[in-house]
Amino acid sequence: MIELRGVSRTVPSGSGTLTILHPLDLVIPAGRVVAITGPSGSGKSTLLGLIAGLDAPSQGRIVIDGTDITVLGEDGLAKLRGAKIGFVFQFFHLLPSLTAFENVLVPMEIAGGRGGARRADGLLAEVGLTDRRHHYPSQLSGGEQQRVAIARALANDPPILLADEPTGNLDSATGHQVIELLLNVNRTRRTTLVLVTHDPELAALADMTVSLRDGRVVQADERLALADP
């Protein structure tokens, strides 16, 4: 479960401060698919970045599976991400100097577990890229790169998968494949999936949606409301 209490984000701008995200409360139940929608600059990606611990809120607390991540340092956050959160980016962000197989292997090596190679092969098979395992990112198409990124995000079998515009850089056919893959992950592994998208078709496939505009929640599924503490 992901819990956000009074979370806001401001940045210094010129002489004053600029509010990117106004204080918001949100609870994302485990195992569900949640879409965060809204126009450009509405604060979607900022919200996702805050949940992933990639950025720190200016105010408020974020609790993931009972852990308050706002009190964690950089290394604590990195460990948490390694164990509990998988991330899929719009621009794939694979390590260019590593093969597809090695990209998938890296999170497991960082976590220090054994049997990583077999598991990486299994994940690549799951995303249908067994024959591309020794290719470098530059030798893969956009869709293939995104599938490697999904396999990498699943490497440590995280309970939470965050995706920032996962189809934003793909043509619609490839985009469909990727969406199917993500939803399949949610179904088979009971992984909580939080998507940022402005694709209404993708948003419609989610269990619940949150809409943002100018850093405020304009519409949210009532199941996402924070129960009184």
Binding site: V11, P12, S45, T46, L48, G49, A52, L54, D55, A56, S58, E74, D75, A78, K79, R81, G82, A83, F87, F89, Q90, F91, H93, L94, L95, P96, S97, L98, E102, V106, P107, E109, I110, A111, G112, R152, A155, N156, D164
Partner: protein
Amino acid sequence: MRFVLRMAARELRASWRRLLFFFLCVAIGVGAIVALRSVIQTVRAGLVREARSIIASDVLIQTNRGWTPDLRAEVDRRLADADVLDRTESIETATMVRAEQGRVARMVELRGVEPAFPFYGTLVLRGGQPYSHALVRGRGALVGPELLVQLGIQGGDRIVIGGQPFEVRGIIEQEPGRRVGAFSFGARVLVDLEDLLSTGLLSYGSRASHQILLRVREPAVAALTRRLREDLRDRFVSTRSYQALEDDIGEDLQRAENYLSLVGFVIVVLGGIGVWSVTRVFVRQKIRSVAILKCVGATTRQVLATYVVQVALLGLAGSGLGVALAWLGVASIPASVTAAFGGAAYGLTASAVVQGLLVGLLVSLLFALVPLLEVRRVRPLLLLRGGESGLGAGTPDRTPGWGLGSWLRRIDYVQAGTGVAVTAALVLVASWQAASLRAGGLVSLGFAGVALVLSGAAWAVVRVVRPLSATPWFPLRHAVLSLRRPGNQTRVILLAVGLGSFFVLGVRALQQNLMAEFALELDQRGADMFLIDIQRDQVAGVRQILRERGGEGGAAARLVPVLRARVTAVRGREVNLESYADVRGRGSLAREYTITYRAGLEANETITAGAIWNSEAPLPAAGVQEVSIEQSIHERFDINVGDTMRFDVLGRSLEARVTSVRRVEWEDSRSGGFMFVFRPGALSEAPHSFIGFLRGPADAIDRARLQHALVERYPNISAIDGRDILARIQSIVDNVMLAISIVGGVAFFGGVLILVGAVAMTKFQRVYEAAILRTLGAGTRLLTLMIAIEYCALGLLAGLIGAAGALALSWAVSRHLFDIPWEPTPVLLGAGTILTAALVGTIGVLASLDVLRRKPLGTLRAE
């Protein structure tokens, strides 16, 4: 840890090409250090092995005055209770030799020996003839091969020494302790000691070394040497052991080794600058990868470790290549150079290799560490920002402001602290390499000072050029904008190029000063022939021969009376030295001086205090003489006009009052130079000999005839042909200069190569902008001009600051470390500055060529 190692290996697989330059920088530096150190260590090892055979004994007792009966008795008494296994005697003197059937005479180094000689080392004779004393007994002589050529004789012929005929019974190929390239008066001639004494060459006051050679049980060597030295010093007897000699030679070479190592270290620092600039660019290119790693759970420490391991591996590999380069370099040293420096076969020494590897690794890590620390500041959040790269994206809020407080808050203390630690470590490495905290500190201080000035200059230039950014000329306007835009390269290029030119020009300027110090040319007008040991009753005869056979120069020859003396006491205003023991406490004041007497000053002398005597005036009260001292004696020992000094002149005590202080222009030593000059009087009556200076005949045959005539009539006189000696000194000096030039050359080319790379590395920052400008319609010529203006301006500024630093460095090192006169080198530094600007401009344009040639879309896509 497994992750770190694997990740480092994978990254290297992909990025080694980009880091190739890193690798080369380290290799050049390490190669220089290993090669320089190995060569010197090899030479030293050879010389130390030779140390025992150089003195042919364990302990050598020596005097220039001959063994008087009571002195001999005392030596005997002291040796009786020591652990002496064996003893023998020998006498060495320089004298003239001619062929019995010839007219040519040559200076030789004559040595008379007894049957037990030598205790150590082997005398190698031509044709494998074994050496035994029987060869010289009964007027036999063994001679150096050069004498055969000089006199036109061969084995079995007879030569005349001191008027007596000797038969040449063997040719000395190799003598223990005599090295090729070392200075000597002439060829070696070895005879029986009894025969030498019977020639009558050793008249009173002759220059000869009387030696007692001892073989001593090893543990007693040091103690015996020390005891003899202390007990016999007042009797003008010196004692040395092979151990002390080993130390002497060792010390000289240690100094040379440390100087060259410091130059080697400077080359490594140049490499380090390359390492720094490569790492900096590398980190910038790796920002996204770092963010991804952090995003998938890697801690900052793991990421940092990954890159530190890469740097260490590259550093080690670069050092390995450096060792290979050093091996190649040493193997290609020509045989002629090998011969000049002791003839030992050169190879890499284990300690030099280990040191090189260590220094290479250390410098790689030290120089890479500060830029690598940037990865700490990379936040994974930047991955959400559409692939925009740049440090600071997602960094914590920083309150903008200009106050000291906000400036202090903006300092990255870890990076600053590391910077300080790295600087300290570099000082230590430099000091280790130079084996002197002073030398290491001086070089590091120069490094830090120039770096500081360069940083300041970068800050200033960004502000000073601001008005130019409004200029209507597009290339200039954009060049200026490039200099001061956010994330500009101004500071980096200035630092890399400025420090590079500082070291390259500094070493070069130092080299010029060293060369000037060594440069020795045959003086075209001065004396080139010297006569030694002319006895008083021979003066008139010698003058006559010189007039008859010496041409103009012979007629103008100067014969100067010389005596040998020691200072045994000083009673003065500032110093009071009651006995010779006190004088000895004053260091070199206790050494034996050659003194003279004359009526007035020489052309190269000026009075700085007191007045020279008027020889017309009556002599002062009996017993007290007048003496004029040289400026350096006055300065070093605080001896003033009016003080009284006591001298021991050939065993007689003599008191003299200091009446003047003279400054001698030592550079102009045609007129000779003496520390102590006495007023003619009592000394003229004492037994003494004369030395002669003359400009000998130009023709070699005339010179030989003159020498021959002198030797035939006065066998005890030695006529030294300055031309021979100067030619020999010249060849030694040439070898030293060659060595210095080679080292300087390596530093220069290493430095230039590293500059090229450091500047080329900055192009990555420019590629993207150039591509955008192209899409906006900028032509190749316009872009080239822009880049040229920017780089030339930076090169010029960096060159100027580097040259100023080099000027200061060469001054400080010349005056305070090497203790040699210093000359500014304006041509070198001026040319260096212009060359730097041109070089940086050219490299900037050349490195950007592919940017200028490539289609802009490719560049934009790649970004």
